[in-house]
């Protein structure tokens, strides 16, 4: 029989543990209503309110941060150190992206309130994804993360009469390509989920884990093991598109180049955080028992992930060498960084039988995501500061002599490039060091060697930006029309983040060392 819900029922169901995500969802809906009633001369309040919403969710997340794993919504959503930490990454990303957006939207005449609402909705989706413990929630979170991004990628189209302008054509092409490949990849994820459900009879990841062992033992008389393997492979394809791993990366450079720069900054981090969170949960919580010989072999998928990681590292870094547009270069660099985080996933899978090493590897992946978030957001903030209203000013040659005209921006960009390369005392170094040492502990020596070598190669294209800025000269410096106060704050915040993660290491490792997925 049904009982009428009371406040007591709500607390029994632990709904408060999903409060950071719920608060952001409510804040978004609130903003949607408020924005309609704001008079035209008060529209600048929308981004401020969006920042307030993100801040409130961030505070709630800090206060409810609890390393003990608790679950709600019938076990579909879990809150633990993993969720809490990645929530922080997502919220920081959303905050800095809103800071980057305000002036950009004004000067490109696309200043519409729904932009911020879509951005927050997408962040909400990412937050549900990082807490997802069920195939259904992973799917919904992924779609809530992606669908607003399809719209935002094409946002420069809105209300423009000048439909032949290159930046409009690029933006709508970017949205279209992202949409087609995004929908294609979610279809793979859904079909993979359907097969996993068919094999195990449940969509809950912990129950899938419990069901995998018996299925493998009795696989002689049923086809459950085959369903599991195909389901895992199709889900991996679906998530591989989202994190832009080779061979599912083709959309990345075009989408990153054509999308409005603040959106490029946002999606290069948030989509990867969401995708990797789902990948970690699905592969490790759900399918770590999917082995060819239970109790002896590591998970069956980890070999595949190793190969994907190696190919991603090599292709991402080598193709980035030949790019002349900074947005495309950063797109290939983001593909390469997906490879480093995949190394952590492979290490967890390979060390799955030794929980200590597996957890260290998972923590390394999380630190890498945080480091990558600060560094990439900062790099895109500098790109945005130099970009002209018509989308030009993003070639590598536009950075020539930047140190003479804008020393502050040049120094910031140099720091971000050092961090992307992995020079000590920056966040990027910490991330790489932790991931490489976890991979070595897990016994992935060849993959680690590929990782180190490709890092060295990556120095060529990152340092080329620095050489352009400091050693080459240009008669006329870049006008840097985008260098306004909010953008400068975003650059400072990212610099602070890069240095804090790079130097005050214990601060970050204390946050993640309670993460245990295995």
């Amino acid at each position: 029989m049904f009982e009428s819900p009371t406040l007591q029922t709500l607390t029994d169901y632990n709904i408060w543990i999903a409060l950071p995500a719920i608060a952001l969802a409510f804040g978004t809906m609130f903003l949607l209503v408020i924005d309609v009633f704001l008079p035209a001369n008060r529209k600048h309040w929308t981004p401020i309110l969006a920042l307030v919403g993100i801040g409130i969710s961030f505070l709630i997340n800090l206060f409810t941060y609890n390393p003990e794993q608790t679950s709600t919504f019938g076990g579909m959503f879990v809150a633990d150190a993993f969720t809490g930490f990645l929530n922080i990454v997502v919220l920081i990303t959303a905050f800095i992206s809103v800071l980057l957006s305000t002036d950009y939207l004004r000067r490109t005449e696309t200043n519409h309130g729904e932009y911020y609402i879509l951005l927050l909705l997408s962040a909400t989706g990412a937050m549900f994804m990082v807490g997802a413990n069920d195939l259904i929630v992973i799917f919904i979170g992924l779609e809530l993360l992606s669908i607003p991004l399809y719209i935002l990628s094409a946002f420069r189209v809105t209300y423009t009469d000048d439909r032949d302008a290159t930046f409009v054509l690029k933006s709508e092409e970017s949205g279209m390509k992202y949409f087609i490949l995004g929908a294609f990849s979610s279809a793979f994820l859904v079909y993979g989920s359907a097969l996993l459900f068919g094999a195990t009879g449940t969509t809950n990841l912990r129950e899938i884990f419990a069901a995998v062992g018996p299925i493998l033992e009795s696989s002689a008389e049923n086809s459950g093991a085959l369903l599991l393997l195909i389901g895992a492979a199709l889900s991996l394809v679906g998530l591989g598109f989202k994190i832009a791993a080779v061979p599912f990366h083709m959309w990345t450079p075009d989408v990153y180049e054509g999308a409005p720069t603040p959106i490029t900054a946002y999606m290069s981090v948030a989509a990867k955080v969401g995708g990797f969170a789902a990948l970690f949960r699905l592969m490790i919580v759900g399918l770590s028992g999917l082995t060819l010989d239970a109790g002896v072999d590591p998970a069956a998928w980890q070999g595949t992930i190793q190969v994907i990681a190696a190919v991603t590292l090599i292709l991402g870094n080598f193709v980035a060498l030949s790019q002349t547009n900074i947005k495309r270069m950063l797109a290939y660099s983001s593909i390469a960084h997906a490879g480093y985080i995949l190394m952590a996933v492979a290490a967890v899978g390979s060390a799955g039988l030794v929980p200590d090493i597996a957890n260290t590897a998972a923590q390394a992946g999380l630190v890498y995501l945080l480091a990558y978030a600060f560094t990439n957001l900062g790099a895109f903030a500098v790109v945005l500061a130099l970009e002209n209203n018509d989308g030009t000013g993003t070639e590598l040659s536009d950075f020539n002599g930047l140190y003479n005209s804008r020393p502050m921006l040049a120094l910031a960009m140099a720091l971000f490039m050092f961090s992307l390369t992995g020079i000590p005392l920056t966040a990027g170094f910490m991330g790489k060091w932790l991931v490489f040492s976890a991979a070595v502990q897990a016994g992935l020596i060849p993959l680690t060697i590929i990782g180190v070598l490709t890092s060295v190669i990556s120095a060529f294209y990152y340092v080329r930006v620095i050489v352009n800025m400091f050693l080459l000269t240009e008669d006329e410096g870049s006008p840097a029309v985008g260098e306004t106060a909010p953008v400068r704050y975003a650059v400072y915040a990212s610099m602070a983040g890069v240095l804090i993660v790079g130097i005050a290491v214990p601060l970050v490792t204390n946050l993640v060392n309670m993460v245990s997925l295995v």
């Binding site: 195939l135 259904i136 799917f139 919904i140 779609e143 669908i147 399809y150 719209i151 094409a154 189209v157 439909r163 032949d164 290159t166 409009v168 054509l169 690029k170 709508e172 092409e173 970017s174 949205g175 279209m176 390509k177 949409f179 087609i180 929908a183 294609f184 979610s186 279809a187 793979f188 859904v190 079909y191 989920s193 359907a194 097969l195 459900f197 068919g198 009879g201 449940t202 969509t203 809950n204 450079p253 075009d254 180049e257 054509g258 790019q323 002349t324 547009n325 495309r328």
Partner: protein, 103 residues
């Protein structure tokens, strides 16, 4: 005696539909036909989900299907809006005409 269609039949049909949909996405040039192919892939997953849900006697599969249908509807709304925007500026919805960016 009632004849109950075995789950395998549904599964094989859904697999065929999924492969047809995937081929459609890869081979078709018209954006609307590409969307229809994506829808076919999602619906093949729906078919597999309900068939498995019946076999396991579990509600989760049915619930999943409802969410997939809702999301597919939302996706189509966004996709058709993008097609209209592109048609306005290019007078074409052939996805081979989308080559503004190279490299």
């Amino acid at each position: 005696m009632d004849f109950v269609v075995p789950t395998e039949f549904f599964f094989v049909l859904s697999l065929v539909l999924f492969v047809l949909g995937a081929l459609g996405v890869l081979l078709r040039k018209n954006a609307i036909l590409v969307f229809m192919s994506v829808e076919l892939m999602l619906n093949s997953a729906n078919l597999a989900l309900v068939a498995f849900a019946r076999q396991w006697n579990s509600l989760n599969g049915h619930i999943f299907v409802f969410f997939v249908m809702t999301v597919a509807a939302a996706e189509v709304a966004v996709g058709l809006a993008l097609i209209v925007a592109i048609f306005k500026s290019k007078r074409s919805i052939n996805i081979d005409d989308l080559h503004q960016m190279e490299g």
